[in-house]
Structures are given as structure tokens and as C-alpha cells.
């Protein structure tokens, strides 16, 4: 037994989960501690400092690839973390798709990490890492796949700057899952004909839900800024199939974000409800 172990017991930190234990929510891993969340997009990095109460204290962003930004900002991030642990939201080189009849047997979450092929079957690609979000009432699931090489590259870059990933997730997938859960728990919303749009710093995910069924999904990550044509192309099938009573639910990473400012005109006369809250992405990542 080392003196650190004794200190951890006396400060009660030995009774808390380790910072990189994925079974626990962020506030449980960093109780009364400052933490840093970073969103890595294509050619753009944004970050947020959470104070000891878990509230957003400071935000910042910089253009450039993560490797470049990390070399400039790592000291600042380190000074605002406990032992160099940070939370990463990956916003590039991933794809979200709609799947059906995936295995949901007990422990599927652990199985997805250890033996993803047993959960995904033929859809498994060894160069990807996966996350799933199931519709609680149907056999549909959202499947997110991101590049294994991209994750390894981020981990390597962080190691080079004495930073340690407490968590690496895909922010857009987390936002989408959060919004789908919210819809599923609201009986009024659940029965409506919905186009669910989630937008996070040039990444877009659009889902059509009708009477509780997820019918269609399109997703693109790392869009070029001002790429109006691609966004329009992605939204068109949903808008064309929309009924007069179809409602659009929009969630962005922040209030009055890029999508609200540039792409709302695509929905024409459809009823658009923006459910984005202040510091939406950081609050979702910092509270779950």
C-alpha cells in the first residue's frame, strides 16, 4: 500500500469511480472538480471549462486541426483539469445510420466494445468503433460508426501533451440520442409526425419519425462551411415527404447556431421548433 492509497481513502476519492470509468456519468467522475470538454470538428476545435459545480464557466474555439490547436491550448486545458483528464467529443469521420433487429441481449453495451461482431453481425467493420441507441418501442436502432484510426490519432496527440481522455464520444450522436429519448418520454410528441434535426458544428443528422417509428435517417459529418448544396440535398427527401402537420424539431450545439442562421429556410412553411438550450452540447456532455 502506497501513501497515495491512504490519501485517497482519507480524502474519499478511493470511493469514487476513476475518471475514465465509462459506467459512470461525468458528474460522478468529477464531483466538485473542474473539468474540460473538447469538441473536435474538421478544421475546428471548441472547448468548454466546467467549474466545480459542473456548470459552464468558460468556452473557447479555434480554427485548425486538433494536433495544431492542442499544441497551443494544452497548457490551458491542463490547468483547468484534474490530473489531465478531459472529455472529448469527436465531430468528424463518423456516420450514423438506421438499423433494425440488432441484438439487445443483456450486456450488449459491453459486448459492443469487446466483441462488436456478435452484436452487429455482417455490418461490423474492423476499422470502426461503434455505438448504438435503441428505440425502446420498436426494433430500430441508431448505429454510429467512427474511424478507429481517428480515435487512436486523437489519443496519441493527447498523450503527447500529457492529456488523458476520460471519455471520447460523438457529440452529435449524444445530442441525437438525448433528443430521441426526450421525444420517447413525451406522449404528445411521440405520436406526431416529426423531422428531427440535430446539428453540431458542420455535422448534421436528420431523422424522420412517424407514430413512434423511425423511418428514415441521413447523416453527414464534417461538412464544409457554407456547403448549402449538401445540406439542401440531405433535407430535401424529408421535406418532400412531409405532410402539412409535420413538425420539425431542431437541436443545435448552441442557441442561435449556424443551422438556425443559415439553413432554416429549407423547411419552408413547416412548423420548426428549436429545442436548443444555452450551451446545449456542453450541458449534455457534462451532465451525462
Amino acid at each position: 500500500m502506497e501513501s497515495k492509497d491512504i490519501k485517497d481513502v482519507l480524502t474519499f476519492s478511493a470511493f469514487r469511480p476513476e475518471a475514465d470509468n465509462p459506467k459512470f456519468a461525468w458528474p460522478q467522475r468529477f464531483p466538485k472538480k473542474k473539468s474540460v470538454l473538447i469538441n473536435i470538428s474538421r478544421g475546428h476545435v471548441a472547448w468548454s471549462i466546467l467549474n466545480k459545480k459542473g456548470r459552464v464557466e468558460d468556452v473557447g474555439e479555434a480554427d485548425g486541426e486538433f494536433v495544431e490547436v492542442a499544441s497551443q491550448m494544452s497548457d490551458y486545458w491542463l490547468s483547468n483539469t484534474e490530473d489531465g483528464w478531459v472529455g472529448i467529443s469527436l465531430n468528424n469521420r463518423f456516420i450514423i445510420s438506421l438499423e433494425h433487429n440488432l441484438s439487445r441481449k443483456k450486456g450488449w453495451n459491453e459486448e459492443l466494445k469487446q466483441n462488436p461482431k456478435s452484436v452487429l453481425g455482417t455490418k461490423y467493420d474492423r476499422t470502426k468503433r461503434y455505438a448504438l441507441h435503441h428505440n425502446p418501442e420498436t426494433s430500430a436502432s441508431l448505429m454510429m460508426a467512427c474511424d478507429d484510426s481517428m480515435l487512436k490519432s486523437i489519443e496519441e496527440t493527447m498523450r503527447g501533451h500529457n492529456l488523458r481522455p476520460a471519455r471520447i464520444c460523438v457529440g452529435l450522436f449524444a445530442m441525437t440520442a438525448h433528443l430521441m429519448n426526450r421525444i420517447a418520454s413525451d406522449n404528445a410528441l411521440k405520436k406526431q409526425d416529426l423531422i428531427v434535426v440535430t446539428w453540431l458544428d458542420q455535422s448534421l443528422c436528420v431523422i424522420r419519425q412517424k407514430e413512434g417509428q423511425w423511418q428514415d435517417l441521413r447523416c453527414r459529418s464534417g461538412l464544409q462551411p457554407g456547403d448549402e448544396a449538401t445540406v439542401s440535398q440531405m433535407l430535401r427527401p424529408f421535406i418532400e415527404a412531409a405532410q402539412p402537420g409535420t413538425r420539425v424539431l431542431l437541436m443545435e450545439d448552441r442557441k442561435q447556431g449556424t443551422f438556425s442562421q443559415s439553413h432554416l429556410s429549407h423547411f419552408g412553411n413547416l412548423n420548426v421548433t428549436d429545442v436548443t438550450e444555452e450551451q446545449n452540447l456542453w450541458n449534455i456532455l457534462g451532465k451525462n
Binding site: E18, L90, H134, R167, C169, A177
Partner: protein, 182 residues
């Protein structure tokens, strides 16, 4: 609802979930004991300080009492010495009774055939109550000596270490006379 955030990082082996909550009793007990120890140390420290101050006061009182006692003892000794001196004087005064009645009693005790040939009364200056008497009586014999001694006894004098020597017509007698207060 399941967890909405799925961790994609490369998992580290043996990631701890933290010790069981029941074990929190260990540090809690440690802190309780630590606090109790601090309070006890404080209590004992204050008690020791209070005892030391009381002891200092008691020592001062003891010193004061001892100095008073030695004063009293000195006074007592002085009084005792004065008393002894006074007793000596009183005894001396008591012992130095006038010897004239003895000479008168010896003279009057003489019969018609007897005379006092010699009479000597020497008082011991150290013990004034003791008077050494030498008496020589001519004539009268033992009867006259007994008569004379009876007269001396009548004056409350006792004779000690008496010696008597009879001559052909005289009697030598010597003894220590001590006055007895009846």
C-alpha cells in the same frame, strides 16, 4: 432510458469503480478519532495548565506557611528560653530561702547542758535549694542532735547525706538541707 453517451476510447484495464460505500466508515472513524484526540489533548493540556497554576499557588502558600511556622517556632523558642531563665530564677529565688530561721532554730534547740561549738551553713550557688550544714555540739549527746534535727524539720527542711561523728563530749554532724514545700 439507457446511457446516451457511449465511450469510444481505448479502454484501460482494471478501471476502478471505487471502494464499496460501507468502507467509508474507515476514514470517518479516522476523522472522529483524530478530532477526539485533538479535543482530549486540548483538555489534558488545559487540565495540566490548571494543575500547574494550582500547584504554584499551593507552593506559594506552603512557603508562606513555612516561613510563618519558622517565625512562630523562633518566637516559641525565645519564649521557652525566657521561660527557662525565669524558671531558673524562680527556682533560685525559691531555693534561696533565708537561713536565719535555721540558725535561730538550732540555737533555741540547745538544752541546758549543750552548746553550739560550731555552725556552718554553705549554700550551693548552682543549686541554691541545697544548703550544706556542718554542726558541732558540745554536750547533750545523740538526744540533743535529734532534738536539733526535729527543730530543723519543723522548718520544712529535710536532711540528706547525713554524717555523724561522736567525740568524747561532742558530736560532729554534717548534712545537706533541702527545703520541701508542703
Amino acid at each position: 432510458m439507457d446511457n446516451i453517451i457511449h465511450d469510444l476510447k481505448t479502454e484501460r484495464q482494471n478501471v476502478s469503480e471505487g471502494l464499496p460505500a460501507g468502507y467509508k466508515l474507515v476514514p470517518v472513524a479516522f476523522y472522529i478519532i483524530s478530532i477526539a484526540t485533538v479535543f482530549l489533548c486540548l483538555f489534558f493540556y488545559l487540565s495540566k495548565k490548571a494543575y500547574e497554576s494550582t500547584e504554584t499557588v499551593m507552593r506559594e502558600r506552603l512557603t508562606q506557611a513555612q516561613s510563618q511556622q519558622s517565625g512562630f517556632v523562633a518566637q516559641q523558642n525565645a519564649i521557652s528560653a525566657e521561660s527557662k531563665k525565669a524558671e531558673g530564677i524562680a527556682k533560685w529565688l525559691e531555693g534561696s530561702r533565708p537561713l536565719q530561721p535555721v540558725t535561730v532554730a538550732v540555737g533555741r534547740s540547745m538544752g541546758k547542758d549543750s552548746t553550739v561549738a560550731e555552725l556552718s551553713l554553705d549554700r550551693n550557688p548552682e543549686i541554691p535549694a541545697h544548703t550544706f550544714m556542718q554542726l558541732k555540739i558540745d554536750g547533750g549527746g545523740s538526744q540533743q542532735l535529734e532534738h536539733t534535727l526535729s527543730a530543723i524539720n519543723a522548718l520544712d527542711y529535710q536532711t540528706y547525706s547525713a554524717q555523724q561523728v561522736k567525740g568524747r563530749n561532742s558530736t560532729d554532724f554534717q548534712a545537706t538541707l533541702i527545703y520541701t514545700d508542703r
